[in-house]
Structure formats: structure tokens, C-alpha cells
């Protein structure tokens, strides 16, 4: 019983601390300023829409950039304007979110990059 609880606790700890699989900080120092709580997904017609949400944990208004690389089912990148860097700003100690819609009905996978 004791081993089971310990295993469960360890698993929760690992899952909780793991980086979100579809989001990558280009500069690791960003993780000291903002957190990523998750990525929501939904369908808008035949296109997938994603929304990244988190919180600015620093005491400063900050400016970042993000880009979303969309890929088809075979892993090939689908070129689009969303793969260019887009600015976003976050107010101090407040939640933030930004979203992106798939550039094509063939886009099923995505990778989000965040940089300063």
C-alpha cells in the first residue's frame, strides 16, 4: 500500500513538472518569468484551433514572441504566416493566453516556440 502511494505521488510529481510536449521555450530563462499551464484544442469547422494559457509570474510587464509550426499527419511542415514570430505581451502577475488556428485542414500536429 505504502509503495503504491509513493509510486502514485512520484508519477504525479513527474507529470506535473514535465514540460508541455507541444511548447518549447527557445530561451530557458523565460521559464523563470512565465509559466505554461496548458494548451487547449478545439475544432473550428475543419480546422484545429489551439490556445496556450499560463501566467506571468514576474512582477514586470513583459514582451515575448511566439511562433507556431503546423505539420501534416506525416510530420511535414505546412508553411504559413503563423510560423513567423508574433509579439505578445503579458501584464505582471496576471494570466495570459494566445491562440493560433491551423493554416490548413491537413494540419494535425503543431509545435509552439516562445522566445524573448
Amino acid at each position: 500500500m505504502r509503495t503504491y502511494i509513493l509510486g502514485l505521488f512520484t508519477a504525479l510529481l513527474i507529470l506535473g513538472c514535465a514540460a508541455k510536449p507541444n511548447v518549447q521555450f527557445v530561451n530557458n530563462s523565460i521559464s523563470r518569468d512565465i509559466s505554461i499551464e496548458g494548451v487547449r484544442e478545439r475544432m473550428v469547422g475543419q480546422l484545429k484551433e489551439i490556445e496556450v494559457y499560463g501566467e506571468n509570474e514576474s512582477g514586470d510587464y513583459m514582451k515575448f514572441r511566439y511562433r507556431v509550426v503546423w505539420k501534416d499527419k506525416d510530420g511535414f511542415e505546412i508553411p504559413s504566416l503563423s510560423s513567423k514570430w508574433t509579439d505578445f505581451s503579458v501584464y505582471k502577475n496576471t494570466p495570459y493566453q494566445f491562440s493560433s488556428i491551423a493554416p490548413s485542414i491537413d494540419a494535425v500536429e503543431y509545435m509552439i516556440y516562445i522566445n524573448k
Binding site: V44, G45, Q46, L47, E49, I78, P79, S80, L81, S82, K84, W85, T86, D87, S99, S100, I101, A102, P103, S104, I105, D106
Partner: protein
């Protein structure tokens, strides 16, 4: 002897001048950290087009019940700025992404000047010519009429500030109209503001 001395001096001066001149560099379009300009550059068009296409796709205005693609005509895009810009710098990016999206296709048979391919009409005139094999000419009734029209305007406002600086505001406004009803199904505006020296020229 004197001529050769002058020639040598001239060659030396030329080498010095070209050697000291700034070398031309190619811009890295993916990571351009060069300073901003008061006018519009490719970064501004990328931003405005990127936001517009995201907004348009999210709006659902291009979602047809049968899943088919919407046929769009490009209407007038007015350049109401002080700059000599070709509005295709904005519209072409949107057109490319619209086509890639699989949700829309743009007709070049009808539209505002610059967005029509004259060959659509010329190729139909071949029907009257006996020189062409009728089986290779385009039969009547094959053109697809547009269902929607994309129109817009780019506006510039220059504002002199109290501290002598200049503020330039650019408004990228776009409208998608359903041609059957005349109703605007999607509209959006992106504002890009710049502030700099009052001596800067924004045209």
C-alpha cells in the same frame, strides 16, 4: 611618370573607398532584429496579413455546410497612406494562406484592377477563331462566379507630439462580403503604431 603616379593614386583612393564602405548584407527574414522604420516594411505587412488570416479562419466565415471551398474575388484595396505601396504586399500573403487553408479559392476572372488575369477573357476569344482546334478552346459557361469579395483599406495618420516626436499610425482594414446578400460576414482591423523623430519621413 606623372600620369602613372596619378593613376596609382586614383587606384589607391578607389580601393580605400570601396574597402571602407559598408558591405551589403542580405536580410534574414526570419530573425531580423534591425531597428524599425517609420514607413511600412515587410515585417509590418507580415504582421498585418498574419493577424488577418488568423482572424478570418477563426471567424468561421469560410465554413460552408458542404465543406466545399468559398470562391472569393479580390475587390478594391485602397492605399490611403502617403507611401507608394502596392497593396498586393498585403493581399498576396492573405491569398496564399487562404488557398493553402483549403477553405477558399480566389478567382482571377473578376475583381479590381490588378487582380484580374486578362488571359481569362483572351482565351475565350479564341472560340471565334478558325485557327484553333475547337476541342482545345474553353467552352462557354465554365467560369465560376465569386461568392464573396475581399475589400479593404490601408490608412495612415501622422501625429505631431508635444515633445517634437512624430507618431505614425497605420490601420489595415479588411472586409469579406457575401455577394448574394451584400452582408459583411467578416471584418477586422490591425493597427501598427510607430513613434520616432519628428524629422523622420514616413512616405
Amino acid at each position: 611618370m606623372r600620369t602613372s603616379t596619378i593613376a596609382a593614386s586614383f587606384a589607391m583612393a578607389t580601393l580605400l573607398i570601396t574597402g571602407c564602405a559598408d558591405k551589403t548584407q542580405r536580410i534574414d527574414m526570419n530573425q531580423d532584429k534591425a531597428g524599425q522604420v517609420m514607413g511600412l516594411d515587410y515585417r509590418d505587412f507580415n504582421e498585418a496579413a498574419g493577424k488577418a488570416i488568423q482572424s478570418l479562419l477563426k471567424s468561421g466565415a469560410l465554413n460552408k455546410k458542404d465543406g466545399d471551398r468559398v470562391v472569393i474575388a479580390i475587390s478594391k484595396i485602397t492605399n490611403d497612406t502617403m507611401q507608394h505601396i502596392d497593396t498586393d504586399q498585403l493581399i498576396k500573403k492573405i491569398r496564399v494562406d487562404l488557398l493553402r487553408s483549403g477553405r477558399a479559392v480566389v478567382t482571377t476572372s473578376i475583381g479590381a484592377e490588378g487582380n484580374v488575369d486578362a488571359m481569362n477573357k483572351q482565351v475565350r476569344e479564341l472560340n471565334e477563331s478558325e485557327d484553333y482546334n475547337p476541342r482545345t478552346t474553353v467552352p462557354k459557361g465554365k467560369l465560376i462566379a465569386p461568392e464573396m469579395s475581399l475589400s479593404g483599406k490601408i490608412i495612415q495618420r501622422n501625429i505631431s507630439m508635444d515633445d517634437g516626436k512624430q507618431q505614425v499610425e497605420y490601420y489595415f482594414q479588411l472586409t469579406l462580403t457575401e455577394l448574394k446578400t451584400g452582408l459583411a460576414w467578416w471584418e477586422d482591423e490591425t493597427i501598427i503604431g510607430k513613434r520616432g523623430s519628428g524629422k523622420s519621413v514616413a512616405w
